[in-house]
Amino acid sequence: MPKAEIDKDRFKKENLILNMGPHHPATHGVMRLLLELDGETIVKCTPYVGYLHRGVEKLAEDMTYLRALPLTDRLDYISSMTHNQGYCYAVETLLGVEIPTRAKFIRTMVCEMSRISSHLLWIATHALDIGAMTVFLYAFKEREFILEQFEALCGARLTVTYPRIGGVRNDVSQEFIDSVYDFTNYFPSKIDEYERLIDKNRIWFKRTRGIGVITADEAVSYGLTGAALRGSGVNYDIRKLFPYDAYDSVDFDVPIGTHGDVYDRYRCRMEELRQSTRIIRQCIERLPRGAIMAKDAPKVIMPPKKKVLTSMESMIHHFMVITKGPMDTPKGEVYVATEAPKGELGFYFISDGEGKPYRMRIRAPSFAHIAALPKLCEGGLIADVISNIGSIDIVLGECDR
């Protein structure tokens, strides 16, 4: 019998291409990941973003600085206070406005509350993706409290537009201060509860220890910031290095990891929850009396309504600020970075003297983190992709703008 020749072309081995598409229960928004698999191991991972692009930067070119503020709410819709704060701080730096101390403390307090809210959502979804579904509901109960406080403060739960250029929108009531102070009393025990569920859990260790390791040098070169960078051991926190608002008047520690794996990033963020609680307590205890909006920049900030109706200059300023934007805006450019919960949030403005920005560029931390995703995922298994996406804490609204 003649020996049968094996047709080599028919037995070609190919890698499986799997599309974790824009619609997927675990990709935290609309992101597409194209995975090339050899069995279960990932050979190549290509992220595709842009499904949530809304043209925020272009829209801002046609709006005055005040009108463009609500656009920043919708970037990272989970922690909108911090994005508003970043924008306002950048514009204040451009216009040379100094905000009153009371406004600084209030801003710091609500931004730390927003950080807690963002980290709670992070731990809820991260644990849910890895399979521990109860942590999701426990964390959301505390987050619900924070959102209710925001609603009592400024009327909106999620997209608040509360920090304004020159200060904040309205003053905090005594009721607000009391309930937030109560919150800082019982919240650390709740963090203990979440940690009891997963911190020393053997299965959690196996899913997160040694997964998605990135060294300090690689992390810096990829542009990671925030807890993703601190998990690898780099001590970079903008609140400490370039303090803004009231961060130089409060004491807090910055948690740093050692191994640069998913577990260390998780520990960093859990510790940050405690530090944020500490900051909020100090802000409440040291809250000074005073104004909440800058009073000495009439051509830039809208004057109070009483004055508008009685004084001629105020009426003119009001009219001009609303229609044409801040008057006598200096020409030039400014880049200002703040520490958002997800990482370093940067605003870069080019101003040509008009009341609208000539160009607003937002440096979104999630964009850099997603770029690092192939480095984290390649060589691992499919289940590790889920752990990695959770650990870099992305939100697509911010990434795509």
Binding site: G131, T134, W204, R207, I386
Partner: protein, 340 residues
């Protein structure tokens, strides 16, 4: 007279089958409701509350909904295999119900090799998984089917081995005999001497039925729904049913082999010495209570633990559970040799 006898036997067996099947279906309805309530309360929420008083009729509403759903079959699916996969699944799990003893002397088929029959049926259940994954002709289903079938056949080994200790102690494969042997045993339960076997069995049972922490094949976050992604309507209901009846069968085996089956504490037998009917009813109740305690444990673990990654799951089965169960067999065999 002989022909009448056989016809009578056949009729009685058919009645038994109908009763057990309807009880099993009702059980699934209430097991699902029970799970949603238990997990809900563990997560600081209520679970179903709307449909019926305290949400009792929720499962029935779900069944009606699934019944009326559009029967989607993917265009490029392998139709004969696609249709037959859920049927194999449900047939295998329901077939296992025929040897489970609910009270003394009762089992639809009281065969001498009851335990072996159970192992065989659960092995047949693996076919359903792999056929479903393959026939759906979709990458996600395929991956899920591959993973799940590998998981099932790996944990079958440790499941079988963990029960060998019980077989050695009871000296029989018949499930009624195993319960009777436990009644005569000093601690009334095989749980105490066979604690290692129990531990291995519980973990293997969770892996066999694809429950957390071994539910990677159907993990929503990774593979949408694994091997039954493409199934909708009544076919999906069949898989669902097969999963919960599988849980029922595994819990029954745990109750029968380790927790004393239908055996009541001694004083109850002496209390109701006359009436066999009351004793039988009490035995059934006892069995059901133990069964639902096992189901509660399943739900408790599901709401608490994260899930294992696939390779960690396989290494747990092969490298830890199988050596443990073999060790258990060695110890049990040695002790039995010395005692006799």
């Amino acid at each position: 007279m002989m022909i009448n006898d056989t016809i009578l036997n056949i009729i009685i067996t058919i009645i038994k089958i109908v009763v057990i099947l309807s009880v099993a279906m009702l059980h699934v309805a209430f097991a699902v409701y029970f799970e949603r309530k238990v997990i809900g309360h563990m997560q600081r929420r209520m679970g179903p509350m709307e449909v019926g008083p305290k949400g009792i009729l929720q499962s029935f509403a779900d069944v009606v909904k699934l019944f009326f759903k559009e029967d989607l079959v993917p265009a490029s699916a392998d139709k004969p295999l696609f249709y037959i996969a859920p049927i194999i699944g449900i047939a295998a799990t329901m077939g296992s119900l025929s040897v489970v003893p609910f009270f003394n002397g009762f089992a639809i088929a009281d065969i001498k090799v009851g335990l072996l029959f159970l192992f065989a049926m659960s092995s047949l259940g693996a076919y359903a998984v792999i056929l479903a994954g393959w026939a759906s002709n979709s990458k996600y289903s395929f991956l899920g089917g591959m993973r799940s079938s590998a998981q099932v056949i790996s944990y079958e080994v440790s499941m079988g081995l963990s029960l060998v200790g019980v077989m050695i102690m009871a000296g029989s494969l018949n499930l009624n005999d195993i319960v009777a042997a436990q009644q005569n045993f000093s601690t009334k339960l095989y749980l105490i001497p066979q604690i290692i076997g129990f531990f291995v069995f519980v973990l293997s049972a969770m892996a066999e039925t694809n429950r957390v922490p071994f539910d990677l094949p159907e993990a929503e976050q990774e593979l949408v729904a694994g091997y039954f992604t493409e199934y909708s309507g009544m076919r999906f209901a069949l898989f669902f049913l097969a999963e919960y009846i599988g849980m029922l069968v595994m819990s029954s085996v745990a109750v029968v082999c380790f927790l004393g089956g239908w055996g009541l504490p001694g004083f109850i037998y002496s209390m109701f010495n006359g009436s066999a009917i009351i004793i039988s009813i009490l035995e059934v109740l006892c069995f059901l209570i133990k069964l639902y305690a096992c189901m509660f444990f399943y739900y408790w673990v599901r709401s608490t633990l994260p899930r294992y990654r696939y390779d960690q799951l396989m290494s747990l089965g092969w490298k830890i559970l199988i050596p443990l169960s073999v060790f258990n067999i060695l110890i049990t065999g040695t002790i039995k040799m010395f005692v006799n």
